[in-house]
C-alpha cells in the first residue's frame, strides 16, 4: 500500500495500462512535456514516447474524432479533455460517433475509447473550468459514464475503463486531485469491484444518501456530522452514472425508507432526477417521504467568489436530510 493523491493514482493507472497493452495511446493538449495542466500525465511521454503519449494540436473535435479512427484501427485511445467546459467542441464526435458506432455497425466496430474529463467546481477558476456536464452524456445511449471518489478507485477504474470495449467517459473530481489515500498498486483491476457497480460506504438506517465524484467526501462528512445528532445515514457512492447500478440503492431505500441524492450539476434534467424517479418507481411503498435532491442550481456555473453558494456543501446536504426526515429544516412550513 502506498499513499497517493488522486492525480498520482490516475497517473499510476495510466502507466500500468500503457505497460500492459501496446495498443493504448494517450492523446490531449499539453499532456506531454507539461504532464497536463493538472500533471496527471506527468512523466508518461518521457517514458513511453511521443507516439504513445501524444501532445495534440488545440482542437477537441479532432482529438476525439481521430481517437475514433484509431479505435477503428484497433487502438485503445485515452483522451484528455483539459477542462470540463472544453468538451463541448467535441460533443458531436462523442454523441454522434463514439456513442453510436457499435450500434450502427451491429457490433462489428468497437470503440474502446476512454475520455478523461476533470470536472466539477470548488477550485476558484473562471468560466468553463468548473462544469458538471455528466447529464449530457448519461442521456446518450452507448456511452458508459463513470466517476471516482477515492485514489484507490481512481487507480483501478481508469484501468477498467481502458480495458472496456465500450467508450467510457471518466470524470475526475478535480477539486480532489490533491487529496491523498491508500492505494494498493498490486491490485488487479479485473478482481477489483467492476466500474459499473455502486458501493455502499457507510451502514445506516435512517436515510440513504446517494453521491458521486467530488461530493462523496462531502456526503461522508455530512453522515458523520449527522451521526453526532443521532441520525444514521447510509452513504452510497454511485461510481457508474451510466448505466446506474440501482440494486444497492433499492436495497438501501427499502431499509431506510428515505432518499437524498446530491450532485454539483444543475437540478433540472440532472442525474438526481433520474435516480429519484427510478427509486420512486421501484420503492414507492417503502418510501416514507418524497426523495430529496440537493444539487447545484439551474444557473450557469457562477463566478468563483460565489461558487460555494452553488455547490452543495455539508450544511445544505444535512438540510436535505432533515427534509427527508421531516425534521425542522429551511423549508419547514412551506407546501409544494
Amino acid at each position: 500500500m502506498t499513499q497517493l493523491t488522486f492525480a498520482r493514482a490516475i497517473n499510476a493507472g495510466l502507466r500500468k495500462s500503457l505497460e500492459n497493452d501496446s495498443k493504448v495511446v494517450l492523446l490531449g493538449e499539453d499532456i506531454g512535456a507539461l504532464g497536463g495542466v493538472f500533471r496527471v500525465t506527468d512523466g508518461l511521454q518521457k517514458d513511453f514516447g511521443k507516439h504513445r503519449v501524444v501532445d495534440t494540436p488545440l482542437a477537441e473535435s479532432a482529438i476525439v474524432g481521430t481517437a475514433v479512427g484509431l479505435a477503428y484501427r484497433g487502438y485503445r485511445p485515452v483522451v484528455e479533455i483539459q477542462f470540463d467546459g472544453f468538451i463541448y467542441p467535441a460533443f458531436d464526435q462523442i454523441v454522434s460517433q463514439v456513442a453510436k458506432l457499435h450500434y450502427r455497425t451491429r457490433g462489428a466496430v468497437r470503440m474502446p475509447i476512454t475520455i478523461r474529463v476533470p470536472f466539477g467546481g470548488g477550485i476558484g477558476s473562471p468560466e468553463h473550468h468548473s462544469e458538471s456536464p455528466e447529464a449530457y452524456f448519461t442521456h446518450t445511449s452507448g456511452l458508459r459514464v463513470v466517476t471516482v471518489a477515492n485514489p484507490q478507485d481512481a487507480y483501478t477504474v481508469i484501468q477498467q475503463a481502458i480495458a472496456c470495449d465500450d467508450p467510457v467517459l471518466y470524470f475526475e473530481p478535480k477539486r480532489r486531485y490533491h487529496d491523498k489515500g491508500e492505494v494498493d498498486e498490486s491490485m488487479d483491476p479485473r478482481s477489483a469491484l467492476p466500474m459499473d457497480k455502486a458501493r455502499v460506504l457507510t451502514d445506516g438506517s435512517d436515510v440513504t444518501l446517494v453521491a458521486y465524484g467530488p461530493l462523496v467526501k462531502t456526503a461522508l462528512d455530512a453522515a458523520s456530522a449527522a451521526a453526532d445528532e443521532g441520525i444514521s445515514i447510509e452513504v452510497i457512492d454511485l461510481r457508474s452514472l451510466a448505466p446506474v447500478d440501482y440494486e444497492p440503492v433499492v436495497a438501501s431505500v427499502r431499509k431506510t425508507g428515505r432518499l437524498v441524492v446530491t450532485h454539483e450539476a444543475a437540478q433540472s434534467g440532472g442525474l438526481g432526477a433520474e435516480v429519484a424517479a427510478s427509486i420512486t418507481e421501484r420503492c414507492f411503498y417503502h418510501l416514507e417521504s418524497a426523495p430529496v435532491r440537493v444539487t447545484g442550481f439551474d444557473i450557469p456555473y457562477p463566478y468563483s467568489k460565489l461558487e460555494m453558494h452553488h455547490l452543495p456543501g455539508l450544511d445544505r446536504i444535512l438540510d436535505g436530510v432533515d427534509r427527508a426526515l421531516g425534521r425542522p429544516n429551511s423549508l419547514s412550513g412551506l407546501e409544494g
Binding site: 512535456a33 495542466v37 488545440l58 472544453f86 463541448y88 477558476s125 442550481f297 455539508l314
Partner: protein, 389 residues
Amino acid sequence: MSTDETGPGGAKTPESAKTPGEAGPDLLQLITPSGERISHPEFDFWVRDIADDQLCSLFEDMTVIRRIDVEATALQRQGELALWPPLLGQEAAQIGSGRALRADDFVFSSYRENGVAYCRGVDLTDLLRVWRGNASGGWDPYSINMATPQIIIGAQTLHATGYAMGIQNDGADAVAVTYFGDGATSEGDLNEAMVFAASFQAPVVFFCTNNHWAISEPVRLQSHIQLADRATGFGIPSLRVDGNDVLAVMAATRLALDRARRGGGPTFIEAVSYRMGPHTTADDPTRYRDANELEDWAAKDPISRLAGLLDRKGILTAELQQQVKDKADAVASEMRRGCTTMPDPQPMDIFKHVYSTPNSWLERQQDHYARYLASFGDPDGAVSKEGAR
C-alpha cells in the same frame, strides 16, 4: 498609393519550408530591434501621419499596459485576483492594432487582450472583475464596442464574422476585429469562421498573435506552414508582421481595416511576437520552455525597440520618461484601488440574469435558497467552502 490597396496584403503562396514563427523576408518590419526606422515602399503610407508626438503616445500606451500587467500579476500573487493571463511581450501587437481601430469597430478578443481593452477605454476595475471572481463578464460590450473576453479557444472568431455580416447587411463601414492566438488556428471554430468570412466577403479582420506558445505547445505543433499562409487556403489575403514592432502592426491593421471598409472582405494578420511570461499565473513555463529562447526574444522587446527609435530621434528625454512612468504608476495605482475596494458580490446575485424575464421555475429555487440562508440567521449567508454545521 495606387487605387488598389491590396499591395503586399494580397494572396500569397504558402512557403512550407519555413518554421512557423521564424523571421524571414516576408515579415513586415518598420522598426528594427535596435530601434532603426526602416522605410517600406508600401507600408510607410499607412503610418505617414504618425509624427513624433504620436510615437511618444504609443510609447506611453505600451508602457502603461506593461505596468498594468505587472500590477495585475502582483495583485494575483497577493491573493487579490484568482488568476491573471499576462501579456508581457505583446504590447506592440495590442497597442499597434488597438490604436488603429475606430470607435464604431467592434472587437471580439480572447482573454489576453487587456491592452486592446485599454485602447477601447475600458474601466480598469471592470478589467479585473472576472479575474477577481466577482463577475462572469466585466463590462457591457456595447459600452466600449468590445465583447467580454472569450475563454473557449477560437469561439470569438465566429462571433466576429457574424457581426461583420451584420455590418455588411446594414450597409455600414465599421469592421469587426477578432483576436486569437497561434493555438487557436487549430480549432474548428476559426477554420469555419474563415470559410464564412471568405464566402460572404465579410468585413472582418482576423488578428492572430503568434506568441509562439499555446500553454506548453510550440507553434510548430499547430502548423507546418506559416500561420499567415493558412488563410490564403481559405481565399483570405494575409499579412505577416513583426508583432513587436508597433508601427508595422499599426500599418498592417490599418490596411486590413481599410480593405474591409471598402468592401474588400476579410484579412488575416499574423503578428509574430512572444509570450515572455507564463501562460497564466497558474502556469510554470520552466517545465517546457528553454530559457535561451526567452533571452533571444527579450532582445526584441517591443518597448525598448520603440524607445530606441525615440532615442535615435532625440526625443527620448528624461522628462518624457518620467512623464510616462508617472502616468503608468498613476494608472496602476488607480487599478489597484479599484480592485481592492471592489465590493463583494451578494449570494443571491447568482440567480440574476439567467433569463431575461423571471420564471417560477428558477424563482422557486431562489426562494428556497434564500430561506436556507436565512435559517442561519445571517442574511449574507454563513456558508463556508465545505460547509460546517
